[in-house]
Amino acid sequence: MKVKLKVRRSDPEKAAVGYSQYTIDAPEHTTLLDALIQVREYEDGTLALRCSCRSAICGSCSMRVDGRARLACRAKIIALTRGDEEHEVTVEPMGNMPVIKDLVVDMESFWSKIRQVDPYLQPEGPEPEGEYRVPNESMIDLTHTMNCIMCGACVSDCTVLEVDKNFIAPAALAKAYRFAADPRDGHSHERLEKLSEYSGIWDCTRCNMCVEVCPKGVAPMDRILQLREMAIEEKISGNSGVRHTNIFTKSITDGGRLNEVWMVPGSVGIFNIPRMMKEIPGALRMLRVGKLPVGQAIPPGAPGSHKMKGMDRVRNLVRKAATLKPSKPKVKSDD
């Protein structure tokens, strides 16, 4: 089949950045990586790319394909083009990392953030005689994150990293979960404290981009949400993230639907005067056009707060839903 490629080019020795277009003939089952290697071997030896295993195991060949990060070796041309030979596949280097040349990026920031979360087991207390014994289900839960091949796809497309280079970002946070949730680890609480600081778990915007682009089902954002749940259980508070989830949940368990008026004061802290001052012009603008729901002026939980119709039924459900929580396996002894 005919394969049309449009590849982003850049060379550190030349200022110009642009695209090169290639049309090659390749078998139907060809992957994007096969096609790029064919280009490099037979069309243009100057094309730079990283690859090794060709089997979606080494994680070397991540790149942006038609706007989203993928492993080139796992992307079949026929699927990318939906069989349309005129569809030109656009290939670019990963985002959020500086480009070295063409499709090769500098992953130093990726690795330094992985190192930042202490990605190794830190058991506490005397070592057991034999091996550590842990409940099966807790390890099954961790297999998601163990599948990570460090390809960088999630970091490439992370929407928070685009506006904040300090964000620890999905790969390292998923890795942090792998150890914080390991029943053998003795420093879970300290890890969660550190991860709850600025640029950590609460700075994820929950856009699902990392879940979408991860080729290995690690679903980093889901792991970040699990870390948040753990941090709340460990009573690590004092940040807007925890306050936000608290006021939000209270708003629903009290009134059934969201009390939008109290989200900001409830999250940033109503006595956080400098921060509240920043919100006043916006609130006034909303008030002026009728977008500030004044019916929600009373805070959730206070007498007279706004409640939706049939709230007693919701309250019953809230009470009974507490019985749905699974008991978590935290055993780490030999017994």
């Binding site: 929407t159 928070v160 685009e162 506006v163 904040d164 964000f167 609460w202 700075d203 915007t205 929950r206 856009c207 699902n208 981009m209 879940v211 979408e212 949400l225 948040r228 749940e229 709340i232 940040n239 807007s240 993230g241 936000h244 989830t245 608290n246 939000f248 949940t249 708003s251 629903i252 059934g256 639907r257 969201l258 939008e260 900001v264 999250s267 940033v268 921060r275 920043k278 012009p281 916006g282 603008r285 909303m286 056009v289 009728g290 977008k291 500030l292 729901p293 929600q296 939706m308 119709k309 049939g310 039924r313 919701v314 019953n316 459900l317 809230v318 839903a321 507490a322 749905l324 929580k325």
Partner: protein, 302 residues
């Protein structure tokens, strides 16, 4: 012509900070002959926030809403990308965990409710394309929005994770907004922010980052000639419209771009007066955009 009737979950925001979404949805649905039975006792989906501390509660709240729709024997319609994503995620989880669902159903039984997996849950955008049909919509357009350049803004949860949002059955769901913009006679603007995050979930947690996200997308679309952005998500609307002046201050971009709700755009094309769609109740004025509307007198024939 098939009857279109849905159990209608309005979401929290259309009943709070974005009343214009509720009003325009009802108005437009009526004109299209889409019958809506509002679930006025359904509770919030949790928006992914309750899920951070109590996923089981969020599952139960959503199962309850699904069961209410099933009690009516109707598919469920939402008007919020976040609601769509959360509802689809919960639906997927409950379908995979029958024993867990049984426990939830035991609680729902108190209200005489029961949820059986398999409910159709659709955002208004999906309904327009898949159930109503774009040809039918085109035939009803009384005032083509020719001359308007409109950028799509999807909202994360109507797109991702695509695996549980019907990618296999409906592979073009990530193109529907462009298709609808085209169907009402406007020109879709292509820009890289269309499928990214508006930043709203971070607003109370990291204001700077949240406003930078919003500001960047607005700036990019405006730079590429957009007259407005249209979104099927009221949360995106809040960050892009209500927070736009704040985003302007943080990013220092010279931005002034109207942000409209999907049903407002449809309503304009169907000939509804902007005031009836409450286009005068936005933080960012829609006047510049509306100046491009063809004069009503010029549209005698549909």
């Amino acid at each position: 012509m098939t009857d279109l009737k849905y159990a209608f979950w309005p979401g929290c925001v259309s009943k709070g900070a974005a009343p214009e979404l509720y009003v325009s949805t009802k108005r437009v649905a009526g004109m299209l002959g889409i019958e809506l039975v509002e679930l006025d006792q359904a509770a919030c989906t949790g928006a992914g926030v309750i899920q951070e501390q109590n996923p089981e509660l969020a599952d139960a709240l959503n199962a309850r809403t699904f069961a209410m729709a099933q009690q009516l024997g109707l598919p469920l319609m939402n008007i919020c990308s976040t609601c769509q994503g959360i509802e689809s995620m919960v639906q997927d989880k409950l379908a995979k965990k029958p024993a867990y669902l049984e426990k939830i159903n035991a609680i729902l039984a108190d209200e005489g409710l029961h949820y059986t997996p398999g409910l159709a849950i659709k955002n208004f955008l999906w309904i327009l394309v898949e159930d109503f049909g774009l040809d039918r919509l085109r035939s009803m357009v009384k005032r083509p929005l020719a001359g308007m350049r409109i950028g799509p803004f999807y909202g994360c949860y109507i797109l991702r994770p695509s695996e549980i949002l019907g990618k296999d059955e409906h592979p073009d769901r990530d193109k529907y907004l462009e298709m609808v913009i085209d169907a009402v006679g406007a020109t879709p603007v292509e820009y890289s922010g269309a499928k990214k995050c508006c930043g709203f979930p971070l607003l109370t947690i990291n204001r700077e980052n949240s406003l930078k996200q919003a500001g960047n997308h607005i700036h990019e679309a405006q730079d590429l000639g957009a007259d407005a952005l249209v979104s099927p998500c009221p949360l995106c609307h809040l960050n892009l419209d209500a927070q736009q002046p704040a985003a302007k201050a943080v990013t220092h971009y010279d931005i002034d771009l109207p942000i409209i709700h999907l049903p407002q755009m449809i309503g304009l094309a169907l000939g509804v007066e902007p005031k009836e769609l409450r286009l005068d109740r936005h933080v960012v004025s829609t006047k510049k955009l509306l100046a491009k509307l063809p004069a009503p007198a010029a549209v005698a024939v549909g």
